[in-house]
């Protein structure tokens, strides 16, 4: 075959998702509705959470209106198909970046670094990570389904048994029903639960297995990806920092320090 010129696709800006969204007048976001503090319904039935705040920020930067978002609620299984089949403009749904997934979708800048930890019943058999570890084979850990999950658990707890569930509330229920001794979850989720039920659970006091959360878009559209990245970066480092910091405080209880002025920290 003939050698292809180095820049085969000259990018036509008018074909970008960005133009499509602007013309449409609203943003279509794929997300979930059952995973606090990321995306869930509050008592009034409104979707709220960290992922929702980010979606609203995107809308504000597109249309100067936080409300111009249409949420397509979907299960975790649906995150990639709905992008591939063009059902949504972007998926903002606590997506862990993996190189495997990156072969099919393009990830934005990460907006949260997550680790996993253990949570146990306050009156349960074990109260700390160390106790679980010491229990060895006789301890059983419950976790959300994920192909790496056994590997992750065994990194810190080489002998513990693992039970996998397909939703966070099933997993939590397994802990409540004492089907498992400890609940392995994202530390953000554990923090949230501890906050919701102050005396019911105890936290293991150890976190491991860092992984990054980002949004994802359909591959092959650098203009759209770049625009979303710009919004995310300026939320973490620039003009929208106050909004972003307020969300962090609200959902994770984390106080962010104001980015230093001077040399841009991200390139330091």
């Amino acid at each position: 075959t003939a050698p292809r010129p180095a820049i085969a696709q000259t990018i036509d800006p008018s074909k970008s998702k960005l133009q499509e969204v602007l013309k449409r007048g609203k943003l279509i976001v794929g997300t979930g509705s059952t995973n606090p503090p990321w995306h869930f319904e509050d008592r009034s039935g409104k979707l709220v959470g960290m992922d929702i705040d980010l979606s609203r920020l995107l809308a504000k930067n597109l249309f100067d209106d936080y409300e111009k978002v249409e949420y397509v609620i979907q299960g975790s299984d649906a995150r990639i198909p709905s992008l591939v089949t063009n059902k949504v403009d972007i998926v903002v749904q606590w997506m862990t970046i993996t190189p495997g997934r990156a072969q099919q979708v393009e990830f934005t800048h990460p907006y949260y670094r997550e680790g996993v930890g253990l949570m146990m019943m306050a009156g349960g058999k074990y109260k700390t990570f160390q106790e679980v570890k010491a229990a060895g084979k006789s301890a059983k850990v419950g976790a959300m389904q994920n192909v790496f999950i056994e590997e992750w658990v065994h990194k810190a707890l080489p002998e513990a048994g693992v039970d996998q569930f397909d939703s966070p509330d099933s997993t939590l229920q397994a802990l409540n029903a004492r089907r498992v001794d400890a609940y392995l979850a994202d530390q953000s989720a554990i923090r949230w639960l501890m906050q919701q039920f102050p005396n019911r659970y105890v936290e293991g006091g150890y976190g491991w297995m860092p992984n990054s959360y980002a949004s994802a878009v359909r591959p092959g559209d650098p203009i759209w990806l770049n625009w979303v990245n710009t919004v995310y970066k300026e939320a973490m480092m620039g003009v929208d920092f106050d909004y972003f910091a307020a969300s962090y405080k609200k959902w994770f209880g984390i106080e962010l320090t104001t980015p230093k002025v001077g040399f841009p920290q991200e390139f330091a």
Binding site: V84, Q104, Q145, N146, F148, D166, A174, A177, R179
Partner: protein
């Protein structure tokens, strides 16, 4: 069409899928066996002269048949231990759930079978002097089983399809394995296509086998 199919990642995990399929078959067969016993007892219970017994069986059948099985699985697995009633592993608790579920359906199947049992067979059995239990064992049950065989095979097939719900409590049958592959590769289309082909082929195989059994034991009435 913009999507590029890629089955390689699926076939790398194909042995796991087959193991999941095999497990599902076992769960279905076991549940059918236990469900048959429950269903038979319940069917006789509904014909009982004791009104309270009839009422209990009726309530059991109506509640179980009308409740989504996913919710039943949750109750048995999560609910009973929290209420301090029972403690079982996930496989056991799933088999119990599915058996109770199957029992409710089979109760209706057997009841219909008993009702459509021509009275003349019982009379012929009486006429040669068989005692009540002998009449049930040698005439009523064998004939009823043959009459209900098609319904039994349908039930086995739907039980097999229902084992896909065991994924909800982390039993590694086919659906669970497929979801695992999804979570890893996000090849959702490919993995579900493969899984449904496996389901379809298996259902056909079961149906074909059972039709042979039906033909073997057919009763021309």
């Amino acid at each position: 069409m913009t999507y590029q199919f890629n089955f390689d990642v699926i076939f790398r995990s194909f042995d796991k899928m087959l193991a999941g399929l095999w497990l599902g078959l076992w769960l279905a067969a076991l549940s059918l066996a236990i469900g048959t016993v429950i269903g038979l007892l319940a069917a006789y219970g509904r014909q009982s002269r004791l009104a309270p017994l009839r009422a209990v069986v009726w309530t059991y059948v109506e509640i179980i048949r009308n409740c989504p099985i996913l919710l039943l699985i949750f109750f048995v697995y999560f609910g009973l231990p929290e209420l301090g009633i029972f403690f079982l592993g996930k496989i056991e608790s799933f088999v119990i759930t599915l058996s109770i579920y199957a029992g409710a359906y089979l109760c209706e199947v057997f009841r219909a079978g008993l009702a459509s049992m021509p009275a003349r067979y019982v009379e012929a059995a009486k006429a040669i002097g068989l005692r009540p239990v002998q009449r049930q064992v040698h005439v009523v049950l064998p004939v009823m089983f043959r009459i209900t065989l098609p319904a039994l095979s349908n039930n086995l097939i739907s039980l097999f399809k229902d084992t896909s719900l065991a994924a909800a409590i982390a039993i590694p049958e086919l659906t669970f394995v497929t979801r695992q592959i999804n979570a890893n590769t996000f090849r959702v289309m490919e993995s579900w296509l493969t899984a449904s082909a496996l389901y379809l082929v298996t259902c056909y195989a079961i149906a074909w086998l059972l039709r042979r059994v039906e033909r073997r034991y057919a009763v021309i009435r």
